[in-house]
Symmetry: C2
Amino acid sequence: MAERIFGHIPNVFEGDVFENRIALSHSKVHRPTQAGISGSQKEGADSIVLSGGYEDDQDLGDVIVYTGHGGRDPITKKQVTHQFLSDKNLALAINCQNGLPVRVIRGANHKSKFSPEFGYRYEGLYKVVKYWRKTGRSGFNVWLFRLEKITVDQALTYQVSEDSPIYSKTTRTLTAQQRLNRDYSLTLKIKEIYNFHCQVCNTKIFTNAGFYAEAAHIKPLGEPHNGPDTLDNILCLCPNHHVMLDFGGFTIDDDYSLIGLEGKLYVKPEHRINSEFIRYHREHFTFNLPHASQPSS
Amino acid sequence: MAERIFGHIPNVFEGDVFENRIALSHSKVHRPTQAGISGSQKEGADSIVLSGGYEDDQDLGDVIVYTGHGGRDPITKKQVTHQFLSDKNLALAINCQNGLPVRVIRGANHKSKFSPEFGYRYEGLYKVVKYWRKTGRSGFNVWLFRLEKITVDQALTYQVSEDSPIYSKTTRTLTAQQRLNRDYSLTLKIKEIYNFHCQVCNTKIFTNAGFYAEAAHIKPLGEPHNGPDTLDNILCLCPNHHVMLDFGGFTIDDDYSLIGLEGKLYVKPEHRINSEFIRYHREHFTFNLPHASQPSS
């Protein structure tokens, strides 16, 4: 198999339309002729095709909530079993963790006002900014991915170099989430309450500019989660436990016991946490953890 | 003192020119009438004025290497003592760690082809993407800050809300560094060599998508450091130690002993690290650590 290219394909431009999946495959924009996701769970996903329409998809143009792969009856297209965070779905999660861009193609049969009238249109690069699971309308678990369009300016990041076709930034990509307005005074406040100690491990990171901690939202900001930017939805965490919270490495029980890690979340009396938000986190960001709830919405 | 506003001032636009420092102060774009940096070491810096010209400044337009405050003789303007990462300089470091934007104003007496012909011109928002120290041309330590222009699209992040004038993203801002092309295959390679274990603490972060680690450059990519994107300049670190490496919480001796932390960097035989790069890190990113080298360039 040829090397996987992340980013634009040379000489293919946003808006280019391909007659069918074979033409699309020849262009290298999306190589598989059947699968909706091109990728591997080691490297990540390089492209996806929106077609048909999973019942939980949402297409807002520059923001797409994309349903993962698997569990549908090939004939009726109905969801008949759970989806898992494995294979192609896991590939998209790797994009999220590593900040890799994914090419998006909309097909004419994709149910959205942004779909082309015929064929398959290359829509440019998107970032996978969040992934979570929920019980789909079918009653089965599905994995969802929030994709956000990479603007022209940002896309410079993803230029293909002469030396290597696989180029990208690799630091943790919270860029799109960062686009959401957050109240900086709350960030200062939560760090003050805990004096920069992580509520999970009590670590206090030292830098040349003093102590360092991160303010982490339990129920994420923005569509479709719409968690509030309020202290009862914010934790003071070290970067390690922030990554683990965002990527479901652990979750929190109603009594603040940690699920997936030993111990208990340290919560000061003056810091009230809304149990609705930790329940939301349990239901949407973790799986296979002992005692983790099953998703309910 | 009025609340510090991060981001644009309502009704002031990029390119607006103010006759003098008093007019600039009244506009709220830069409130101090003397100081070049407006800010506090707790909240961060909200604005800076480029004027006169420190000998180590570089003004490339959208990228500015800005010399910190202090140590100059008030009459001759020559650097006569060391600068420290405290007070206003620390404020700029806080911007870097928290992703806060800083308003930039160029004065007519600033030595650059981007300077206005008269008065003080508001140049929009910049991010502080890196800070480090070096021995300036004077022979004394100075602290330098790499500023990068925030594009119109990114600036949406920093819109002032009706509820609170202090709005911004707060997650760790590696965005501008992320803009640098990096070879994703090296990221995969370094994680493979260490099987996702941190070379400092041996931690292996678990997420719902498998193990997680970060590839960290010892000598940073991009101007003015121009560290190479090669394996001998990359470490496999957990997010905590990545933050600490980038922000000088520790550094590394030639024999891989850690300076500022207990223990020794774990280095596998097949991973050769170039000692030039760890020396560069020692000299530019740390201070006040026992046994840390003094800067030499």
